[in-house]
Amino acid sequence: MRTNKLFIVLKYAAIILLVMYILLPFLWLIIMSLSSSADLTTKPLHWIPGKIDITSYKRLLLVGLNSRGSLFLYGLRNSLKTALAAVIISIFVTIPASWVFSRYPGKKNIILKIAIFTFMLPPIAYALPLYRILSRIGLLDNSLSLALVYCTIILPFCVWLIKENIDTIPYDLEEAAIIDGAGFTKRISLIVLPLLLPALGTVALLSLLMAWDEYFYAMLYTNSQNAITLPVVISNLASGRQSNYNLIAAGGVLASLPPVCIGLLLQRSLVRGLMMGGVKD
């Protein structure tokens, strides 16, 4: 019995450590965002702010107080725009293609294999020519072209997961439709698509999070309010000379809110989505 009790004590100690490890860094980011500059520039630090100061949030979210704020809002808008466009394009072109890969496996699956393979390549392998192409045709600093570039990241991921999901939809359902004379379009849109929707939602969300997270291409290809995305705005904020620690922290908290909320609400389906492609013999 004694070893059992010791085990329980150790277990709870480990869990408390784990919770602290997960929470403390992010909690500190939140506290910083709510502290005044004076509280954050003392030695040693004031762990609990004297009073809650929301000026940094105001500076970021209200237009007109200074240029930073409006740039942050532009970043938010562009991030949403770029991520949504990239996900919509990717999903729209991968559904019919994945259906073919699933239903008519054959020579064409080499395309699927290539697509999955490109997922492993570093962005730096495409970045240089894409930069030259975009700058020649004058499409640098443009949300739509950035969204197309994001397809290089999202598309391989989508085609892999959507194909795996269509594989799990029984072919019998389609056979019945074939007898009724349904063509490809009807089979996809009336039979496969409705059954695919839940998985599609997960794939779309995961892709959205990937696009939201993207920094490298956005840093290279955007430079103004036209297309600059949130990660670039925040990293620029942080690389400035002044030490507006609370402002940087507030930007970080705001940029984390959408993915953290999505993650907390939809954890189960997100993890299942990530696992889908891989665990299958």
């Binding site: 008519y104 730096i124 030259r132 997100l270």
Partner: protein, 292 residues
């Protein structure tokens, strides 16, 4: 499949192939061609064909070789730590305890925090003057005086690795947990009846059951870490003294800061080849394991 059907199939694939071709295939080919030239970023002077020169130079370039070492070291340390920590945490939160669902929900927090925010958060924590880490260690009496983390040549890379592990161990933990949840209880019960101890149950039932999932996590993380760019670039820009300059950062600097696209492309192609070798090695190990 009739000819008409096959033609229709092709039509359905075309949009994807067009986007992949223009956004992935064409640039990749161009990188390949650029790597044999001395093209500059602005491309004002006409590019000259230099043959294998860029590749020959690359293997004599200490900066490039040491940046590859940084990438590999980063991948090795970070992925190993994440796998060990993530698997242990997955096993821990699979146990029954009070507040279990809350802790499980919390696990997704580090993974959901955007990479850029994670990098900036840790940069603030590591700040030499007003960072939380210095203050904490000082107030606890562990350190006598404040020290620098990211601007110290020996501490910078481990500090970045620590930050990366914080974000990504949670993915491994979540994958482990979800694999554990599909473990058939009947197998465990049967083993118990047969007199298998806790250790035996773990090594003969639990571990084999979660290994396929862990392999997925392993591949995903190796692919991600070998091409690491953003977390390092935001935290140190590759400094101090290039001690944290990864392969991707080196290629970026060569092509965009030094505006040498030709040799930058050659470096990029070498990185691609390296990643391909890593993946082939992994697949080799996997298939020999399965067949034996």
């Amino acid at each position: 499949m009739s000819i008409a059907e096959a033609r229709k199939c092709n039509v359905l694939i075309v949009p994807m192939v067009v986007i992949m071709g223009t956004m992935i295939g064409w640039p990749l080919l161009q990188t390949f061609f650029l790597s044999f030239t001395d093209t500059t970023l602005m491309g004002l002077e006409p590019a000259g064909f230099v043959g294998w020169q860029n590749f020959v130079d690359a293997f004599h370039d200490d900066g490039f070789l040491s940046s590859l070492k940084v990438s590999l070291l980063f991948a090795l340390v970070v992925v190993t730590s994440e796998m060990v920590l993530g698997t242990s945490v997955g096993l821990l939160v699979h146990q029954p305890f009070i507040g279990r669902s809350l802790v499980r929900a919390l696990l997704i927090l580090p993974w959901a925090v955007p990479t850029v925010v994670n990098a900036i958060m840790w940069r603030l924590i590591y700040n030499p003057e007003y960072g939380a880490l210095n203050s904490l260690l000082f107030q606890l009496g562990i350190m006598k005086e404040y020290t620098s983390w990211l601007s110290n040549a020996d501490r910078a890379l481990p500090s970045i690795m620590f930050a990366d592990v914080w974000k990504n161990f949670s993915l491994v933990a979540l994958i482990t947990l979800s694999a554990l949840q599909t473990l058939p209880l009947s197998q465990i019960e049967a083993a118990k009846i047969d007199g298998a101890g806790a250790g035996q149950r773990f090594f003969y039932i639990t571990l084999p059951h979660i290994i396929p999932s862990l392999q997925v996590a392993l591949v995903l993380r190796i692919i991600e870490t070998v091409k690491v760019f953003d977390i390092i670039y935001i935290m140190t820009k590759g400094g101090p003294a290039n001690k944290t300059r990864s392969g991707s950062i080196f290629v970026y600097q060569e092509a965009f800061t030094n505006s040498r696209m030709g040799s930058g492309s050659a470096f990029a192609i070498i990185m691609v080849a390296l990643i391909m070798i890593l993946i082939c090695m992994y697949l080799r190990v996997l298939t020999t394991k399965r067949s034996s």
